[in-house]
Amino acid sequence: METTFNLGTIDWLIIFIYFVFVLGIGWALKKYMKDASAFLEAGRSLPAWVTGLAFISANLGALEVIGMAASGAKYGMMTVHFYWIGAIPAMIFLAIFMMPFYYGSKARSVPEYLKLRFDEKTRGFNAFAFAIMTVFSSGISMYALAVLAQVIIPLEINWHILGMQIGEFDFYLFVSALIVLVYMVLGGLTSAIYNEVLQFFLIVIGFAPLVIIGLIDIGGWQGLKEKLPENMIHTWSVAGSPDANPMGVEWFGILVGLGFVLSFGYWCTNFLVVQRAMAAGSMSAARKTPLIGAIPKMFIPFLVIIPGMIAVALTNIDALELPLKEGTMQTDFDKVIPILLVKYMPVGALGLGLTALMASFMSGMAGNVSAFNTVFTYDIYQSYIVPNKPDNHYLKVGRWTTVFGVLVSILTAYVARSFNNVMDFLQLIFAFINAPLFAAFLLGMFWKRTTGHAAFWGLIGGTVAAAIHHGLTLPASAAVGIKGGYISLIHTYPSEMAQNFWTAIYAFATCLILTIVITFLTKKLKTDDQLRGLVYSLTPKVVDDSRYWYQKPGFLAIVVGVVALALSIIFW
């Protein structure tokens, strides 16, 4: 199957118009960037629907789109667990219980909240880990864009500039980095958020025709079901034991590992998404942000997972052939979306689909760069390097941090290209650091006795526990090494995903227990007065000022919860 795109003039025109608008938004925002808060926090002024769409769009980067389509092809409907159970409950919890502290405390970032609630070292640990993680994620996103672009739009570039050879990979990398750099330097966080909203609509409008035509071709949902094995079209009914489903996971791992530890850890503590809610214009808008985002989030599986399933169903009836990964005998499921675009979309609609894909790569980068900017400027630069300067100074530093962040991302993209193992290793370390995070936040927000020392050592302990658990276990049919088992092998999981879920469960439990024990052994250093607005029992309950009952976060939360539950039952 040919994956090279035959782009017409119209397709190029559509891509070009998109770039003009992306840069135009940055240019139009420039005059509003008068202080550091406008640049790094979007001036806390955006309406809830904008921050809500950005909230899920920041997570809908191209790696997610391509990864979820690939997962749909490999595991089928079970992939929706990453949405319905693996996102919605956490988003509701963030909106109802956690947003009042994040937004109400006036903290400018998640690490800053940790400093207010706990202490300097807990903030430092989180800030440095997060800053490094975002820059690397941004670099990986750029790398993936350049790799995909050179496969689908070959431009035959071979330039020699200043003695350096510039190929297609370099060209795509630098062009995309430059565009992101320009609109981020001009408009800061607002630019990133606005482009995420733009990208959201592009993905929906660009991919919907693909799904519709694909479904018509395969004979609708019924036809799709008939052409796939039984265990690929259910979500929970095949989750009784790991042998019953292609994912190799069981209901407890999904419910607790994915649905609770990993999901709450990501959606409730990751500054990349929480930052979008913190940019909202009021407490009510901040709390509605995750809930408004949750509505499209529930239906995104139909746009990204169904194409993967359609592709596999088509190969099952020999109507499509998926390519193999270079140099292996394994099917390359990452190419599902580009292949279906080529198969079904005529010139015009093809350009639109491709633009949507590119938009999601760029906003994947920009989202990480914007979160990096804020954490670096406020939590590292202002806290440890040059404190107590006038606001204008930090605005300038914020701008330069953007340049710095993009440059390091480019560097990372080259590292990713040359040393794939380095990237796997780093992502593993980040997974260890993230796994216990939610335990510290949960105790910090709902138990006023929790001390800073306890939270810090709980986090370190949880990270170590994750590493130890990973070192003692291995997924079935994997070799000892980066996949685990490097300490000694005491347990084998049916799949890598099952191992991930359980690593998270052990890390969370360790952090929870350690933090509770150390809290009792250490003195409470913060007075109740200092903890006002940061801890549940010491904060007055938020009274929502929405005019109508159906605009209140509580009502929205119920609607979102009921719909997610209904979807889970329909596709049981």
Binding site: I17, I25, L46, F201, I213, P346, V347, G348
Partner: protein, 72 residues
Amino acid sequence: MGLDIKIPIGLMFSLLGIILTIVGIVTNNNPEMYQQSLGHNINLWSGIFMIIFGLFMLLTSNLIKKKKITLE
């Protein structure tokens, strides 16, 4: 923030919608082109949908609201 995001979204989708609609109308008599999309003129349908969406965004944006206020 001073810029209403509905304005660029509305402009971009209206513009892309007009382009796709024109492409769709011009190529409507060309069944070969739409063979791959099972005979459906995707360009025309997406184009019309995008124009409606773009106009909806523009009509509900600050651009229109501000004008109304100044007229009153």
